[in-house]
Subunit: 292 residues, 2 copies
């Protein structure tokens, strides 16, 4: 079988990680699995999450021939990386949290960073721990409304755009739905920055610690204080993957499919929303049964 | 054992139904079970939902001596009422959808009603079917942001208040979080009312088809067109329960606890958020294991 990078998420938010990977390592073949039947992982115990993640990883390795694994799920990266490595012994496994923390260290001058993520990721304090290991002080904040806002599509048609163009376009045209999302982001960031100041922190980096948040990047960049850098864990993970797997990833023979997407449930929702996360059509999503 | 009304929900949103029941039938004893370990039901198959709901109902009947059951979960009411009745043969079972539809018929002069609910409830079209059986035309709309907004607490301290006082207070004082929720409601209702007009409907009733929505009632009432009545399925179910179970519900002996709350997981979140839904302290929540 042609070498494949396996990408795993509890849902389809991890398609933003796949998108970053496909941009960085365009010559590789990819297999993406969303364990949509058993999401959300965030409300489950470490033992259960480890079992689900291990089963998913084994599917990508044994059934799809993945020779490298990227865990595009913050919860699984935080709680189940050891269990996954054990389940697919010999296959290199990369999570999204360590790369996010490393990128934050590279970007921060003050050594103080902010992290926004889901409730489950924040409660695991995995980003704070990874940052601490690199000598950074991190303050984390759960932003539970951002995932449903993204899934509702209230990100505007411009979220796919990047950089200054998106900012200018947003300023000129913001439907009420996008204005709501912008206001939610403003409220969350104001609370977080105020908390940071009270704790004597001087943050100059904001880490997007959830796979859904890259779709909000233009709105988030418009909301952060001047000079604060926004770090996307998905992009950071893709950078690390390029270094570790890039050279080894074989070219895809002409005429063969370079991407296959699998889900354990809700294939229709995956196909409908997935293209927004991937930035291109996901094509047909194949249903798999992992038991459990 | 003293007669007990068992109240079941997939989460703790059903506490708004319990609240309405306790107000209507204050002399009864109540046992509430939230199947928090297995939520959300909305994304699962009818077969799985039926099994979970039947197990939960059996716990309330066999372990807690419930002699009447109220299914305070729109998804379970829509998909599993038959399975529950079979599982607890001989025990009267009341869902929230039929009472909501009946109350809508009593309130509507035009015969056209609007229903807002979660994605799962709307996809089941259970409200539209129940309304059609009563000769009403119903248009349903999923409002996926409202549950997370309620769970985030962006309903303001005034959501517990009722009627004109709440409206006046809201107009005078709305923190930015509440303004966001009000704007989300305005956007959803504008879309729904526009769709209704395009279909030639002339709705004069709006049904709150989700257990979380009563906490948004002041904001929703402020947003509907003048003359449109807002019907709360929780209150409608409590009215029906009073007629069916009220006389039979025995008085609670003095000194005995009139309410026990159970959950299959996330007891801490239940205790923390539950009081907001119940309108009073939920007290200690007992953890139960239903297997599965």
């Amino acid at each position: 079988m042609t070498p494949t990078i396996g990408v795993f998420d509890s849902g389809f938010g991890g398609l933003t990680v796949l998108r970053a990977l496909m941009k960085r390592i365009p010559q590789a073949r990819f297999a993406f699995l969303g364990d949509t039947a058993r999401l959300p992982y965030g409300s489950k115990s470490r033992r259960t999450i480890s079992r689900y993640a291990a089963e998913s990883a084994q599917f990508l390795v044994r059934e799809q021939g993945a020779q490298f694994l990227v865990i595009a799920c913050n919860t699984a990266s935080a709680l189940a990386l050891d269990a996954i490595e054990e389940a697919v012994a010999g296959i290199p496994v990369l999570g999204v949290i360590e790369p996010g923390a490393s990128a934050a260290r590279a970007a921060s001058k003050t050594g103080d960073v902010l992290v926004i993520a889901t409730d489950a990721t924040v409660q695991s304090h995995a980003y704070a721990a990874a940052c601490a290991r690199l000598g950074l002080r991190a303050l984390e904040k759960a932003c539970p409304l951002l995932v449903p806002l993204v899934e509702e599509g209230w990100v505007g048609p411009l979220a796919a755009a990047e950089g200054d163009e998106a900012h200018a376009a947003l300023a000129a045209f913001a439907p009420p739905q996008v204005a709501v999302t912008a206001e939610v982001i403003r409220i969350y960031l104001a609370e977080l920055i105020s908390d940071a100041a009270q704790q004597g922190l001087n943050p100059d980096v904001l880490v997007l610690g959830c796979t859904h948040y890259p779709l909000l990047r233009p709105l988030i960049e418009a909301a952060v204080p001047k000079g604060m850098r926004v770090i996307d864990s998905a992009e950071a993970a893709a950078e690390v993957a390029l270094v570790r797997f890039g050279a080894a990833a074989a070219a895809v023979p002409q005429g063969e499919t370079a991407l296959r997407c699998f889900a354990t449930d809700s294939v229709e929702k995956f196909e409908r929303l997935g293209s927004r996360f991937l930035g291109q059509a996901v094509g047909q999503v194949e249903l798999v049964d992992l038991g459990g």
